[in-house]
């Protein structure tokens, strides 16, 4: 006995020396009962063991940062400083040996085949219900069974995507704890985890001979292309939008597969056709990959409150059943109550034994089952049979029956009797454990894993990977992750791997030279336009605050400079209604600091940095699938609650200057990246138009504020300096004139000089040339309103006589010119919106008649 102990210990790498399974009755994935490392885990554990503690910590930190940078999160609008639902990816993956994977793969593919057949039956002849293989009341009580979808049968079969949550019990057996047949539930998270993990630990993955995911996604992609019936198909991934918890997953998958990410409002139906609303008008859609709940997909025939799809989509689908995957209504077979009926169904429909069983559950609509459970309610968990969410880690908790007092228990019993058809009772199962990486080394944690299946040209295929999450085993038999702790899932290969092909770069056979515009949804054009405006607004406001604080800091500067700066601060803030406050002297330092603080973090006014950053971050998110990873990176510091943004809000005036420099550098980096990297398509036009419009407006406003009415020479000199500084044209001016700033020269440089990228004329020319390149959907030969306004502004600027303007001591000419622009530029912005962004298509509304007779 004592002889063998040291030899086993010798095999155990040091990092595992303190690793102990949780209890005698539990199963650990990494070490067996004797305490020896399981073979599949050896390579990975050895690699990690070989690293120094510092390197391990460093890799974990890099992983963490990469997760944050990639933006993997449930809720992208959540404040990242509140870490409750932060997505965490462990350095230590979960590992499946090739032999184990083969069994799981076979079992999952069998289930996908079974669910596909069952769906086809439930939505056509309902033979399984008629013959009692499935209790009809289970199906008919399920709100996910969509009656209007009966008789719509895609020839390829209703189920394109399937996912299953699995857990291994103490007996070492895998069980399915939940099925997902509604959508491709959370696959984008799994993909992003792999991309991040490979970035930090690709060497370990390679050494362990892990199977790559790209072949799976290629097969999925070609199956979808084939399914659409067109080589050059326009495939859209339909998402509920950025407010949805899984939006990241949808957006990531759409980008990876190169599909359009669309929302319900981007689509509209006409008769039996569905179209995408684009800048160039309505475009055909060949295939919709559905990432929204089936019953929310058509407010006309399905859930009246569901606007996640366009009204009338079901009618289009009836005519073209291949158009939507998964088929609408596919969620019904994920009903938890079906688990007990699957073995018989499998035997009957496929003629095979079910390879992998569900965790033991009882459907409470069944009289005998209900009776059995009610007699022995202790220790079971009562849960909804149909949950509807596919969000990994967020399965709802059940009613734990153990903690109930007598009256609560009586109510639960009545509830079960009344609503049994929509409930299941589940017995607790054990969850096996696998190591996670902590500061104290590796420790075992119970977990569950989600695996994915898709239909391909050669039948269903399982993705050789997945998403493992730590679970709280006491709360439900489901993938409920209390802390958002995830692990990549590696499937090891016993053969040599084919060379790596990533879908980020299409293979030569697939790639076609295509210089035409990739279609752009009207909504995305709108988002990019506002992204441009917010970026410029952030830049300008930061410049104004920086100039003002600099003048306070430079004690020796003239009071006139501080006066000018103060006027610019006030111009960006709403009028102070608190008249009781005594008016401080015009050059008062404290007042300038107070106004600066208001402009940085104040809650009133549309142009405070606080408001601007949150607007900027919101639209950047909406347009995220059009931004490069690097461009996105530069904007993340503006995320509300980010360390930079919150530090800026709290900083003392002197420190504020440093933060502003950093912020300005961020905007400059973003602009530079977009300028260098963004294809000059319509999307670019809208982004740049937004920026130019905002810049033109801000410039006119500052000129008006500083020079109308006229001031004395000293004030004017300070105002000219400030204006050149704000418009970033001081160097240009100096190199050209080598004189102190003079009004006619400065006005010429900033209003008329068409070669100065900061001048008004330059902005207006850029806007006009963008508009000239955009598709013009308006009929007739007259100019559209936006083009007319753009031309009028440019003409009036070009005709301006700066010498006369500068000589006019009343400043009437300057006021007139600036007023004209300050009135027309917002109109131009509205005209662009009306022309291109489908504002006329406001939110659809629903009407119905009520049966309302007199008695």
């Amino acid at each position: 006995m004592t002889v063998t102990a040291p030899s086993i210990a010798a095999e155990i790498p040091e990092i595992m020396s303190a690793y102990r399974p949780l209890g005698a009755g539990s199963y650990d994935e990494c070490i067996d009962q004797s305490g020896a490392l399981r073979p599949a885990w050896r390579s990975m554990i050895t690699s990690i063991d070989a690293m120094s503690p510092a390197e391990r910590a460093d890799r974990a930190r890099r992983m963490d940062r990469r997760v944050r940078d990639t933006g993997i999160a449930y809720d992208i609008f959540a404040d990242p400083s509140k870490g409750a639902q932060r997505w965490q990816l462990d350095l230590v993956p979960f590992i499946l040996s090739s032999s184990e994977w083969r069994l799981l793969e076979q079992a999952l593919v069998q289930r996908a085949r079974l669910f596909d057949r069952l769906l086809a039956d439930l939505y056509s002849t309902q033979d399984t219900m008629r013959r009692g293989l499935v209790p009809p009341e289970l199906i008919f009580s399920d709100p996910a069974f969509l009656r209007p979808c009966e008789t719509v049968l895609p020839s390829a079969g209703p189920l394109q995507f399937y996912a299953a949550d699995l857990a291994r019990g103490a007996d070492g057996q895998w069980r399915v704890i939940d099925n997902h047949t509604e959508t491709n539930a959370g696959i984008g998270f799994a993909l992003a985890n792999r991309v991040v993990h490979t970035h930090v630990a690709g060497d370990i993955f390679k050494a362990a001979n892990g199977v790559r995911l790209s072949a799976y996604f290629q097969a999925m992609q070609s199956a979808l292309t084939a399914h659409s019936g067109r080589d050059n198909a326009r495939i859209a991934l339909l998402t509920p939008g950025p407010h949805h918890e899984d939006y990241f997953s949808h957006a990531y998958l759409a980008r990876y597969l190169g599909y359009l990410l669309v929302e319900g409002n981007d689509l509209r139906t006409k008769g039996t056709q569905v179209y995408l609303k684009t800048l160039e008008g309505l475009k055909d859609v060949d295939l919709i990959v559905r990432c929204v709940d089936g019953r929310a997909i058509d407010p006309l025939e399905l859930d009246p409150g569901g606007f996640d799809g366009p009204a009338g989509l079901l009618r289009v689908w009836r005519k073209s059943p291949h158009l939507i995957v998964n088929a609408v209504g596919s969620a019904v077979v994920q009903n938890r109550g079906l688990g007990g009926y699957l073995p018989a169904l499998c035997k009957d429909m496929l003629g095979e034994d079910l390879l992998l069983a569900d965790a033991p559950r009882t459907w409470l609509g069944d009289a005998a089952g209900r009776k059995r459970i009610l007699q022995n309610l202790d220790g079971v968990v009562i849960r909804k049979a149909q949950e509807g969410t596919g969000r990994p880690g967020q399965a709802a908790l059940g009613h734990n029956t153990r903690a109930l007092d007598a009256s609560a228990r009586a109510i639960l019993e009545q509830d079960i009797a009344l609503h049994g058809a929509r409930l299941v009772a589940e017995e607790k199962i054990g969850f096996s454990t696998a190591p996670i990486f902590t500061r104290d080394g590796l420790v075992p944690r119970p977990f569950a894993v989600r695996l994915f299946v898709a239909r391909t040209a050669t039948g269903y295929q399982a993705m050789p990977g997945g998403l493992a999450m730590s679970v709280d085993p006491d709360r439900a038999v489901a993938l409920t992750a209390p802390d958002g702790h995830t692990r990549d899932v590696w499937v090891l290969s016993d053969t040599e791997q084919a060379p790596h092909v990533s879908l980020w770069r299409p293979t030569v056979e697939n790639a076609r030279v295509q210089r035409s515009q990739r279609v752009i949804q009207s909504r995305v054009a709108d988002d990019l336009f506002w992204l441009g405006r917010y970026c410029e607004r952030a830049d300008w406001t930061m410049r104004v605050v920086r100039s003002a604080l600099r003048r306070v800091e430079e004690d020796s500067g003239p009071a006139t400079g501080r006066r000018a700066a103060r006027r610019c601060l006030e111009m960006l803030l709403p009028v102070d209604k608190d008249a009781k406050r005594p008016t401080p002297p015009a050059a008062d330092d404290a007042e300038i600091e107070r106004l600066s603080a208001l402009l940085v973090s104040g809650k009133t006014g549309l142009r405070t940095l606080d408001r601007t950053f949150s607007g900027l971050f919101r639209v950047a998110n909406l347009a995220r699938d059009r931004l490069s990873h690097e461009a996105w990176q530069t904007l993340t510091k503006f995320r509300p609650g980010d360390t930079w943004a919150s530090a800026l809000g709290k900083a003392a005036p002197v420190a504020t200057l440093d933060f502003l420099e950093e912020g300005l550098a961020g905007i400059a980096a973003f602009n530079g990246l977009m300028h260098e990297n963004m294809t000059r398509n319509f999307g670019w036009s809208f982004l740049d138009m937004g920026r130019r419009l905002e810049r033109a407006y801000n410039l006119c406003e500052a000129i008006h504020t500083l020079f109308v009415p006229a001031t004395d020479a000293e004030d004017e000199a300070s105002s000219l300096m400030l204006l050149l500084e704000l418009a970033d044209s001081f160097i240009t001016y100096r190199s050209r004139y080598r004189l102190d700033p003079m009004l006619p020269l400065v006005l010429d440089l900033l209003l008329l000089d068409e070669s100065n990228p900061r001048s008004l004329a330059y902005q207006l020319i850029a806007i006009s040339s963008h508009m000239a390149g955009l598709p013009d959907n308006k009929q007739g030969s007259s100019l559209s309103e936006d083009r007319r306004l753009g031309l009028a502004l440019l003409t009036s600027t070009r005709l301006a006589d700066v010498a006369a303007i500068a000589q006019d001591s009343e400043r009437e000419l300057l006021a007139k010119l600036m007023d004209e622009h300050l009135d027309s530029l917002p109109e131009l912005s509205n005209a662009v919106a009306r022309h291109y962004f489908n504002l006329m298509d406001d939110v659809p509304q629903r009407v119905h008649t009520r049966v309302d007779p007199r008695p």
Binding site: P136, E150, L300, M840, P844, P855
Partner: protein
């Protein structure tokens, strides 16, 4: 009896509707005891697309799209329908409600779906208790259903202002007020709480003018009631709003699990602003 029925619905919008799509359940279905002699459905402005099919419950559906801007929409259904309903004489001889599961031969497959609760007919424990008072152990289904119908008629007040389309039945049950569709939903929730098959009927009812007055145009109404299944008789209709077994004064248009399945007109509009609806129904018995 033979009825000439006119059902005209007028929508008026405060702003032009750019596009509208509607699902219409205004065409009568074939049911036992009722013959459709004639039917037409006129729609103005003329739809760009119009299609007809039968829904999952066998009701005729018309779907329409209007693509031209409009500020008014008229749907006018005219039907000539003969009713020859013979309600069962002896409600007490129907099967026991609590014996359905043990019945030899089970329940017809097409009936089972109507035992299940739907979005608008989900009972609360209180509603289940209310229902049980009409169904003592081994009580006959139809007798219990009639008793429940009469109790709802007695216990509840018709009040067109108390509820709207989104009022849940639990609230109707608490306030004891509502309209015919609320009472139908309440009766269905009660019956389904006991797993008794029951369905929602949408149709028309002939109303009599007050004594001494002549009947005014457009004063009849679209109406809603329920139908209950018993093995011996099949479906038998009850009207909880009027507390009666349905005879020949009711004309069926469609049936389903609840209002959602058979709403006369439901639509999705783009534009339109505020809207008003005017409904005029005439049910005229012909000699």
């Amino acid at each position: 009896m033979i009825f000439d029925i006119s059902h005209r619905t007028l929508f008026r919008y405060s702003a032009p509707v750019a596009q509208s799509q509607h699902v219409v359940h205004m065409s009568p279905r074939q049911v036992d005891g009722q013959t459709i002699r004639n039917h037409s459905l006129l729609i103005e402005p003329a739809p760009a697309n119009r299609s007809s099919f039968d829904d999952a419950f066998g009701n005729p559906v018309v779907m329409i799209d209007i693509e031209m801007p409009h500020k008014e929409l008229v749907l006018h259904a005219r039907s000539s329908i003969e009713t020859r309903r013979v309600p069962p004489k002896d409600l007490a001889s129907s099967s026991a409600w609590d014996g359905l599961d043990d019945r030899k031969g089970g329940i017809d497959f097409d009936v089972v779906q109507f035992r299940c609760v739907s979005r608008m007919t989900t009972p609360s424990l209180a509603i289940a208790d209310y229902a049980r008072q009409s169904f003592p152990p081994e009580g006959p289904i139809l007798q219990g259903a009639f008793d429940l119908t009469k109790r709802i008629y007695r216990d509840f007040t018709f009040d067109a202002t108390a509820t709207d389309i989104s009022t849940p039945i639990t609230e109707v049950f608490e306030t004891r007020r509502g309209v015919c569709q609320d009472f139908a939903h309440l009766a269905l929730a009660s019956l389904r709480a006991l797993r008794i098959p029951a369905r929602y009927i949408s149709g028309y009812i002939l109303t009599s003018p007050p004594p001494g007055k002549s009947k005014l145009q457009g004063t009849d109404a679209s109406h809603a009631w329920i139908s209950v299944w018993a093995p011996e008789t099949g479906w038998v209709d009850f009207d909880p709003t009027n507390g009666v077994v349905v005879g020949n004064a009711h004309v069926t248009i469609a049936h389903g699990r609840d209002y959602d399945d058979v709403s006369p007109i439901s639509g999705v509009l783009i534009g339109g602003g505020e809207h008003t609806v005017t409904v005029g129904v005439d049910v005229v018995p012909t000699p």
